[in-house]
Symmetry: C2
Amino acid sequence: MSDATLEVALGDRSYPIHIGASLIGRAALYAPHVRGRRAAVVTNTTVAPLYAEALEAALGAAGATCQRIVLPDGEARKDWQTLNLIFDALLQAQADRRTVLVALGGGVVGDMAGFAAATYQRGIAHLQVPTTLLAQVDSSVGGKTAINHPLGKNMIGAFYQPQLVVCDLATLQTLPPRELSAGLAEVIKYGPIHDMAFFDWIEANIDALVAREPAALAYAVKRSCEIKALVVGQDERETGLRAILNFGHTFGHAIESGLGYGEWLHGEAVGCGMVMAARLSQRLGGVDAAFVERLTRLIERAGLPIVGPALGADRYLELMRVDKKSEAGEIRFVVIDRPGSALVRSAPDALVREVLAQSCAAQ
Amino acid sequence: MSDATLEVALGDRSYPIHIGASLIGRAALYAPHVRGRRAAVVTNTTVAPLYAEALEAALGAAGATCQRIVLPDGEARKDWQTLNLIFDALLQAQADRRTVLVALGGGVVGDMAGFAAATYQRGIAHLQVPTTLLAQVDSSVGGKTAINHPLGKNMIGAFYQPQLVVCDLATLQTLPPRELSAGLAEVIKYGPIHDMAFFDWIEANIDALVAREPAALAYAVKRSCEIKALVVGQDERETGLRAILNFGHTFGHAIESGLGYGEWLHGEAVGCGMVMAARLSQRLGGVDAAFVERLTRLIERAGLPIVGPALGADRYLELMRVDKKSEAGEIRFVVIDRPGSALVRSAPDALVREVLAQSCAAQ
């Protein structure tokens, strides 16, 4: 596949997503956004040695003065303390309101840099340069930014769109295998909720994706971003439709915060959470056993866990009750009402407990 | 004066400001915003014993379920730690996205509750019930929310409009005298930057204002809110005009962070800062010595300090360089270009040093 450019259509906050091989170093992509400005590259200790120099060279060639802010790696550090490292660095450097934050890394870096941009001096511009599959197909697009709270994942944040997303497919070749699998969870997600033809394609190409064949990865990123951009363009602030993108996430977030952030990767928890959500969908009559089996098998082939940790059903329910979709203490789930279509609804606790009993390791 | 209702005109984010005596307990004002919802009253240890019960009774009568969140008092606590107390309380109570935050207190409470509303679960509704003169005439209107950072005042925040502002004039009768004077600084501000007829009126009525005559306070609050609403309606996100509302604030913020937040009240620092900004305006040719003298005398009669603390000119300049209006390390001041009109511009360091030498206590 040659390079592709998509657009997230949000009126005067619309922005492009560029997808292609070796885009990080392409100065022309950044120039309209950073020329004559200060750019602060927010990255982490893992990604910085791999890509920060190339990005800074491109930003410099595009006319920016660069500052680098290196955060500790991992979901366990997506908190106030780490966010404050960004503010401290910006203020020490006397970064003004025209400064552009550039997120270089995976979902954690992107979420934190985006939230820092949303709140530094009440809002500055930011660009997303995602270097993980998960960030390229999901978290870098759509303007959801957040940090975690000990009592709930992504509980503190803002809707704040970037001005540009640059998906350099070459970065996927350096991903640890667990990170690649975690990203595949979010790719697979788009099938059941929106596009069963894409699901068929993923099924046919899962081995090529796990083997990182460039053409397969390129198509997966492009099609995922197309669906994400479509949904976000229709419901930026998640008043309705956008919630379907959280398929598997209600169970998944409970796994993440129940085990302690970072124990499982976000995508791993979402993969396992989709198995649970599919089983719940089956009990609610939306899909049949064959569909659940097919989805479970695909998640497993992507290298993802399909058995949940033994937190106990009571703890799962307690954790899911603080989910952002909850209303008046009632948990609301994204369920598949027919293959390729999802909706948000509550479910009887008894059914949820059946699903957990079926899906979790023995305590 | 009978009750007045103004509007902040911001399209689908427009909202009313109700001004009158004893409005806190009027359930009908709140009902459209809280009926059938959870309301979290965010207040502080000083204000809670005075007004929290009356407000909660009204919210209850309006159909809300109430939760109270009591913060420590003072600008020194307008920080991450205190903000997190709000998030902790909301999450412990499993407050969902339909929860409405109600800020009951002065500028510090309003800024923090507003920022918490902007970021809790990526944004929930909030109402402002300001109980200080400063909050009624300035900070509760216009959607500026923020917390302080050790390196700069209001550096972390968001533009996030409330759905309602309720200014109960009766609360001004319980204000400590220093707080009343601090509020008068922001009232006086509106004269030089926008409305010299209002300035004349303040001059003629300053003794009545200091004596808290209800009719005088009512007019001062109403006219101040009118001007604030007009400016915010034209430039919500401070891309231009709105910056004139920061007259006296560049010097003032330096005083506040230089002395340590809370040593001087915000309004006290702004009062003294306006004397400095007026002297700078004179040196830049915008106003004459008689105008500066007139403004200085009015600020003094309002019970505000007119001599700055002896931080040293170098420290003042260093502190002002991290002001949000700065660009590329150049400090930008709000100056009066003719009585009743202001603009934002830079000024030679030498002139600023002259002003500081003239305006500060001997070191």
